[in-house]
């Protein structure tokens, strides 16, 4: 584990009851990096994120954030350590307004004023929808609230679970642009993404999860011709 490692995972084993899903996952995300975690449906991508966040206790292996072990600690503590997840289901406070959702993002930790400034900078649309109840918003807008809420605590490590899931191409493009800007601002991300083009475009490296292990990976530079190979590794 070198000194610029932000998130370091070694030999993680985790699952649900007798159903072991992760069978020794190892990966590292360096400071300021975006790493894409690819894999087929049901390969365990969300399980990796949930184990990092502490929703699932690993039976083996370690998770380190900035060289500090956060292995097996509950979600509210991994959050305090700086790991913030935008989950696949978003888990927004749907009867509350955009404002309330965002402010709850920094209720435990983080600078509310700074957070709001950053979020409105990334998502100007949210400042117009400040008083809107989240359940009445479109999927794309809700995704913005979810990402915005996560940014409110100035996370050290952002875990994004399929930010483009179920969104129109226009929103996918927008999410792509915003993650690029977040990266430029130094946000470190582990990104789970089904949209291969988007994933490879915005991330520095990719990893492929299969049979409960990371089986392949590499830099996303100069990959233009090899998308098909990656798809084959993921699915076949």
């Amino acid at each position: 584990m070198d000194s610029n490692s932000r998130l370091h995972i070694a030999d993680l084993v985790a699952g649900y009851g007798h159903n072991v899903v992760l069978r020794g996952v190892s990966l590292q995300v360096n400071q300021g990096e975006i790493v894409a975690l690819l894999g087929a449906n049901g390969s365990g991508k969300s399980t990796v994120l949930n184990t990092i966040s502490g929703f699932l206790k690993p039976t083996q292996g370690t998770v380190h954030l900035d060289q500090q072990s956060i292995t097996g600690i509950p979600p509210h503590k991994t959050f305090r350590a700086g790991v913030v997840q935008v989950s696949q289901a978003r888990d927004l406070f749907s009867d509350l307004t955009v404002e309330e959702n965002l402010k709850l993002g920094s209720i435990i930790k983080g600078d509310e004023a700074l957070g709001l400034r950053q979020v409105f900078d990334y998502f100007p649309r949210l400042s117009d929808r400040y008083d809107q109840q989240v359940s009445t918003m479109s999927g794309g807008e809700q995704q913005m609230v979810a990402v915005g809420r996560a940014l409110m605590s100035q996370p050290r490590m952002l875990l994004l679970d399929e930010p483009s899931g179920g969104l129109s191409p226009l929103f996918v493009k927008e999410i792509g642009e915003i993650t690029a800007r977040m990266k430029a601002d130094g946000v470190t991300m582990l990104l789970v993404e089904q949209n291969l083009r988007l994933a490879l475009e915005i991330s520095d490296r990719y990893l492929i999860l299969r049979d409960g292990k990371v089986i392949d990976g590499g830099s996303t530079d100069n990959l233009e011709g090899s998308h098909d190979d990656i798809v084959r590794t993921i699915y076949l």
């Binding site: 966040s53 929703f55 509950p74 979600p75 509210h76 959050f79 305090r80 913030v84 997840q85 989950s87 289901a89 888990d91 927004l92 406070f93 749907s94 009867d95 509350l96 309330e100 402010k103 709850l104 993002g105 209720i107 435990i108 930790k109 809420r149 996560a150 409110m152 605590s153």
Partner: protein, 328 residues
Amino acid sequence: MIEQIQSVLTNWDAMLPVLPQLVVSGIAIGMLYALIALSMTILYRATTVVNFGHGDLVMLGAYTLFILLPMVTFNITLESSALSSLVSFVPPYLVALILSLCVLFAMGYIIHRVFIWPILKGPHLSLALMAIAIGYAVRGVIRKEYGKEILQMPRPFPEQEFEVFNWGGIGTYMTLDEIIFCTVVIVMLLISYIVFYKTRFGQIVQAMFQTQRGASLVGINVMHHNNLIWGVGCSLGALGGVMIGLTLVLDPDVGTWTLLRGFAAMTLGGFGSLYGAVIGGLIIGILEKVLGVFVSTAFIEITCYLVIVLVLLIRPRGLFGQHATLRI
């Protein structure tokens, strides 16, 4: 008392002037229902569990005070003057009351931590059964200790009645108990309002009510807050239990009586709505009294069942509820 009034009444003209009395008495008892419903709503908001064992915990609060009171009563020789009885009796009563509330806080905290939290992600039916089982266990213990006896709750202040107003020669009265209980409940409602709508703790509870996983995702220690809320809910219920014990008698079966009223108030007000619970409680209190006299005494007992059935059929989300479904 109601039978007496009924026998006196022969026509509507004669009945009308007692309406204020019925409404006032209805509000007074409704305040207690409101407090019980509020304490159940608080638990529901935190964990979306309808605590079907709540009535028994409420009664446990009253019994705890009954048990603790002799232990904390000072050894002052009682003289006949009102002042000395006030000095010698009210402080120990308050001490015993506060201790009982603490005991029930601890009970609620532990019940959630040990029995509810481990199965909270499971089916709602298991939660309902667990709550019922806890209630029966509590009732069983009380019954074992005080089985056949129907106990009279010791009184902290004398029984007195005041005329609050007079309409055409027929006075409307409130007892000292009613006045004090209404005041206590109003104070508790104000405190709850401030805590749940004006504080950081209230925001956290609101977040947990929406989604517990979402709350975890913003760093909230959900288990800890759930424990606390169960503690608060049970001690608030216990406060209601003490007042119910003083209004009725101490009897393990009053738990069911209490639960039904609290549940009916919650149903009418809308599950999860704090002010819905309060308004629901008041309406049921008034309905019981008014229907009990104007229609039939049977309504004193069946109003709450009727309300539950009608609301679930006609307007399942109640007056102020947000969710159409009741997740048990």
